[in-house]
Amino acid sequence: MHWVHATAFVVLLGSGLCLYLPSLAEVVGRRPLLKDVHVYTAVAWAVALAVVVAVGDRRALLRTAREIDRFDADDRAWLRGGRTRQGRLNAGQKVNAILTAAFALLFAVTGFFLWLGERDTAYRLPSALLVHDWLMYVSFVLFLGHLWLAVLYPKTRHALNGMTRGWVDEEWARRHHPKWVESLRD
């Protein structure tokens, strides 16, 4: 699920920026090809998500969704700046997941209208472009922040191990996600 989003985001951002920035557009110069890359990547991304849900570990996905849905008192305090004890996902990670899911849907809807509007002017919504752009700005900033915490920031970057290799150091988990470690002990 994570890597489907990650791959699609990077390809869509790259091809989208080539469509968007005149200087990049001039360097690449093959707009219809880029447009196809952009549109088909979007379709492939939606299909890949459907496949993950269809053949993946649905129980684990559901468990994660439930986890993201619930914010307990510690989570709420954490969002207000308190360093409270966190579960497997801290409150910031939950917020990030919620925004990612919502933005993905909004990107898809506005992108669909952009695609449709070029084919039939009756479906051309002037706002679709504006909203698609602003989603891009905001998610680009979120993406940079996400990369910073996951790859560079020394205190948190150990989590990348969990994303790539599937395990994290127990001492580290105890410090950052104590409630998760406790729930595993039960």
Binding site: L19, Y20, L21, P22, S23, A25, E26, G29, R30, R31, P32, L33, A65, R66, E67, I68, D69, R70, F71, D72, A73, D75, R76, G87, K94, V95, I98, L99, A101, A102, F103, L105, L106, V109, T110, F113, L114, G117, E118, R119, D120, T121, A122, R124, L125, P126, S127, A128, L129, L130, V131, W134, L135, S183
Partner: protein, 226 residues
Amino acid sequence: MEDGERYGRRAFLVVVAGGLSSLAWATKASGVFSPVTSSFSQLIGNLLPVGGWRIYTISGSMPVFDPASWRLQIDGLVRRRISLDYEGLLRLPRAEQVSTFHCVTGWTVHGVRWAGVRFRDLLALADPLPQAKAVRFVSMEVPYTDSLTLEQVRLADVMLAYELDGKPLSRPHGAPARVVIPEMYGYKGVKWLTRMELVAEQPTGYWEGLGYDQDAWVGRSNGYGS
């Protein structure tokens, strides 16, 4: 793990609803906030080479301008067929203007500095016949064409531009020359211009063939202002 408030789904739905409803209010909001957002995009424009423009093409690659071989043909219903080279175009009386560029897809660039020639000077060379009522503009980017009536090309701020913001028109902006008509959406401004054909009746251009309006007045066409 099962305790706590179920904020997640609610937050997700609020963001999605906000985003979808913004399809209705984003254009208005961006008008209200444009002093803020345009300075923001100006800032981005200074950091990145954006400048608010985005480049649309319809074919596989952008046409390449070669000053040695490029010609602007003016033909059709004229007394004199004209073939103008780049030097010849630059020798015509120079006109300058600052105007706003509106794209039909909803973006706008303010304060664009154009330089070029007025169509009356171009048309005077060819001397249109009385039955000529419109100009068909042909781009080097095949099959892009569009047209304007003679009345429209003679509006005070309509020109064939060869400079943008003090520099010769770049390849993405339609080098060496493009049509500029600020009162209409950008698709009427044919880029990479190579031919002007004087005709008795306005033909259907590329975007008009896809349902866009022949008269693309800003705010009064293509579903805007109706």
